[in-house]
């Protein structure tokens, strides 16, 4: 995710879209099935990815300054629930990819909701450790 200081709403959305698109390419390189901004009921998450052995992740990218917000975690939880309802898939996990600071309370909230937070602070070497165990062997963004 680019370490650009977002100065407007369009900047923020552009950075998030670019990061989500980059993530799509990365997942596809290792033959995960990827849907970018799929319409899932009334929702449109950034990505829905599926590993070759069938694990499904709803991926949401959040860019900005300061701390990540509980609202972003809640958003991912809402996407997961909608995906489970609409696609009738039981085992869906969440992944929040963010360049924002993540307080311990937010990480705890994410854990309790079955959501993994992937902090991307600009250093490419930080990315793989944060991604799912079935992650692609690469970097989210170079």
């Amino acid at each position: 995710m680019a370490r650009v200081k977002p100065s407007s709403v369009s900047d923020i959305n552009e950075i998030e879209r670019a990061a989500a698109h980059k993530a799509r390419e990365l997942f596809e390189e290792v033959e995960w099935t990827v849907e970018e901004e799929p319409q899932v009921g009334a929702m449109r998450p950034d990505l829905v990815v599926q590993s070759p052995n069938g694990a499904t992740y709803v991926v949401e990218v959040k860019a900005g300054q300061g701390s990540a917000h509980f609202g972003s975690v809640a958003q991912v939880a809402t996407f997961i629930e909608e995906y489970q309802d609409v696609r009738a898939v039981e085992d869906v996990r969440g992944l929040l990819v963010t360049n924002m600071a993540t307080q311990e309370n937010i990480l705890e909230a994410a854990r309790s909701l079955g959501i993994q937070v992937a902090p991307v602070r600009g250093a490419a070497r930080d990315y793989p450790q944060a991604l799912p165990a079935e992650r692609p062997r690469g970097e989210l963004e170079k």
């Binding site: 923020i12 900005g64 701390s67 909701l113």
Partner: protein, 193 residues
Amino acid sequence: MYAQLSVAHRALNRASLRASLEQVFGLDDRAVIERSEVCSANGEAWKKLVAYSTEGPTYRLVCLPARNDELQVIVEPVGDEIRRACQSAWNGLRTALASKTTLQSGEVCDLGSGRVVMTAQTGFGVELRRREIVNLTIVGVVSAIWIAIGAFTFAKSHRWELFGGALPSLAGGLLGIGAAITSWKGATIRWQE
């Protein structure tokens, strides 16, 4: 549509935080979480995480402490425009959390996509940068400089006439700064789309 606000405040433990919020917004109501459009997924888990939640006639408020000096708030409008709902919630939060309360960040997000729709800012600098204020202030400041120069050079013998001529623009500048101070003191949220 919902808003997420991050509010910095003096250090408070969870119990004190809840008590402060209850004094302004009324008793904590956990049933709000079940009605929330944002936090209803896995509501039982949210109930353990949320420090305070309430619902008034115009908005739903869910408060979660990120740290002991940072509160994160989710505002969902209920039959009201989201900016008005946020302003009302922010006014209440400032009263509840008392001194040293600042809005660190604020965003309105689309629930369907998670995309940011508007960002919020407060502060004196934000007020001064508003177009209608900045124009008045510049005219006022330039006039004041012009008077100062003129009073000691070309208009030495006509200082009052010079001052009288520049009075409307000086008054405009003062009005601009006054309006900025009033909005700043009132903690008006300014939105950028």
